[in-house]
């Protein structure tokens, strides 16, 4: 049985010029301990569908789905308190901008201990020692010193490690990572992806990785969903997707990778659609 199962999810935003459909009838499911990558360009609705699951969309969004279950339980109509027992404990999320995700006015130690005390009911002292353990688990050097640091005193990569520490604090069964490495350098990206994969295996949690980067997909995913303009274009295991992409859009995305360039010009997605329609 799937851990998270969403059928026919549609998200519409009310705008000044009428209703805009950001997600258009998407099915997503992720199994226990599985790494699912959701790939798409900006505007493909890849983040919006996961924000809908987390209940983080503004009031202007109207969300409809035939089914939206976590561990067999309906999560589409949870009360606020029911939602709090689930979101932030069983399902946690990290975002693209690690520095912006942390509160600049408090030390990182305070921010992780706050989560531990509120979500797990730990005492101040227990929270402190557990925070140190988590900092070690995510590979922050000198955890005793860093726990007293403010976010601006840490690099982007370290802030993302703090965010990951906060996200795994409650031993979640599902971690949603929204472009977790987009703001980071390649060498730091590699470290963060390796860390996420290691934690995913150690804790046996499911990981949904939202990204626009085919390289990140190739290095991490078990299964891949490709989205374009709110619609699902293709779903496949990672090897078949790269080896034998079925949808023209996936083929276009893969051929637009600079390392796949043959000759002088990079094929673009619009070239590709033009070719497909000419056929």
């Amino acid at each position: 049985m799937a851990l998270l199962n969403i059928k026919n999810l549609t998200v519409k935003f009310a705008t000044a010029t009428g209703s805009f459909t950001a997600v258009d009838g998407i099915d997503v499911h992720v199994d226990r301990g599985e790494v699912l990558a959701i790939v798409g360009e900006s505007g493909s609705g890849k983040s919006v569908s996961m924000l809908a699951v987390m209940g983080l969309l503004p009031d202007t969004a109207s969300i409809t789905a035939d089914e939206m279950t976590y561990d067999g339980r309906d999560i589409s109509n949870l009360s606020a308190s029911e939602r709090r027992t689930l979101i932030g404990r069983e399902i946690t999320m990290i975002f693209q901008e690690p520095v912006a995700s942390l509160n600049p006015s408090f030390t990182v130690g305070f921010q992780i201990e706050e989560v531990l005390r509120l979500n797990l009911g730990l005492s101040r002292r227990d929270a402190q020692s557990r925070a140190l353990d988590l900092f070690r688990a995510v590979g922050i050097p000198e955890p005793e010193a860093k726990i007293k640091a403010y976010p601006h005193q840490m690099s982007g990569g370290q802030c993302q490690r703090v965010m990951i520490a906060i996200a795994i604090a409650s031993n979640p069964r599902l971690l949603i990572a929204d472009e977790p490495t987009t703001a980071l350098d390649v060498t730091i990206q590699k470290q963060i992806l390796d860390l996420l994969m290691k934690l995913q295996e150690d804790y046996g949690m499911a990981l949904i990785l939202i990204t626009h980067d085919m390289g990140v997909v190739a290095e991490t995913a078990d299964r891949v969903v490709v989205q374009y303009q709110g619609k699902k274009m293709e779903e496949a295991d990672v090897l078949s997707l790269f080896e034998n992409p079925q949808s023209p859009y996936t083929r276009a995305l893969l051929s637009a990778l600079p390392e796949h360039a043959t000759g002088d010009r990079l094929p673009t997605v619009s070239d590709f659609f033009a070719q497909e329609t000419a056929r």
């Binding site: 350098d185 990672v238 090897l239 790269f242 600079p258 010009r265």
Partner: protein
């Protein structure tokens, strides 16, 4: 004249940049050396890629080459003439030769300025061209970079990221520069839009014999566009050479670390990873 006799479009000798760090009640004022003796040259019609991580000094170097900041030491030569903007502000002729395109096309366009005016402004400042001719030039450039004539009277917010980067490139080309400094021009763009902008840059280089200094942290983009590559780490050029040599046989440990960190998208590597994972799970 033989090819060897043509001087490089831009050349740097021992470029040094120090930034002053102000002191406070508890610490003494000091300085940080952002660039430490960088040498480079780029020939006409070629592309030098500068690769490095954030904090490596690659953007500092780009700003020096683009005549925005003065270096604190070393010599910068453009078309075989020494240039020192700390001593003498660059005039219209020099400004016309060197132009820059920035990473963030959202931040580099004035939201209250129509695209036509964005493109005509460099001509107003640097030339005494009559307004009818400025308009003709701007309209021609809009077409050249793949936009539509009706975009002339629109504002930046009406465009997508890729279109805005086209506008920024068009603005940089209005003065017919010989050297274009591009600071991460495609890293804010989606993959398919990135391909379009890279294609546009390649076409423009062929058509106008442009020389590019291309700053990037993405090795796959560098491999596509560069002739020469310089790898910078902590203000030092740790490796420099032709694209073929550098990609075939990287020498410096830092360059190798960069290569090792770059995601691999070929099927064999993915199959190996999937199988490793399967084995680890069943174990």
């Amino acid at each position: 004249m033989t090819a060897a006799a043509i001087p490089p479009v831009v050349e740097g000798r021992g470029i040094v940049q120090d930034y002053a760090v102000p002191g406070s009640l508890f610490s003494r004022a000091g300085s940080v050396r952002a660039l430490n003796g960088i040498d480079f040259k780029v020939d006409k019609g070629k592309t030098l890629a500068i690769v490095g991580e954030s904090g490596s000094g690659k953007s500092t170097l780009a700003r020096i080459i683009a005549l925005i900041d003065a270096a604190s030491g070393g010599e910068l030569r453009i078309d075989d003439h020494p240039v020192d903007i700390a001593r003498k502000r660059p005039g219209p002729v020099l400004r016309s030769k060197v132009q820059m395109v920035f990473q963030n096309p959202y931040g580099s366009l004035n939201p209250r300025q129509k695209i036509g005016n964005v493109l005509m402004e460099p001509l107003v400042i640097n030339t005494d061209m009559p307004s009818s001719e400025r308009r003709d030039r701007a309209e021609a450039m809009i077409k050249k970079v793949g936009l539509q004539p009706e975009h002339f009277n629109r504002y930046p917010h009406m465009f997508s990221g890729g279109q805005r980067q086209r506008i920024a490139i068009a603005r940089a080309l209005m003065l017919n520069p010989s050297l274009l400094v591009l600071d991460e021009p495609v890293s804010a763009l989606d993959l398919s839009v990135q391909a379009q902008v890279l294609n546009l840059l390649a076409d423009l280089q062929d058509e106008f014999e442009l020389t590019y200094v291309f700053v990037s942290h993405d090795l796959s983009v560098v491999r596509y566009i560069a002739d020469e590559v310089m790898v910078i780490s902590k203000g030092e050029a740790v490796e420099q050479g032709s694209r073929e040599a550098l990609f075939a046989d990287p020498q410096h440990p830092y360059t190798r670390a960069l290569f090792a960190a770059t995601p691999v998208t070929d099927v064999a590597a993915i199959r190996a990873r999937v199988e490793r994972r399967k084995a680890a799970r069943s174990a």
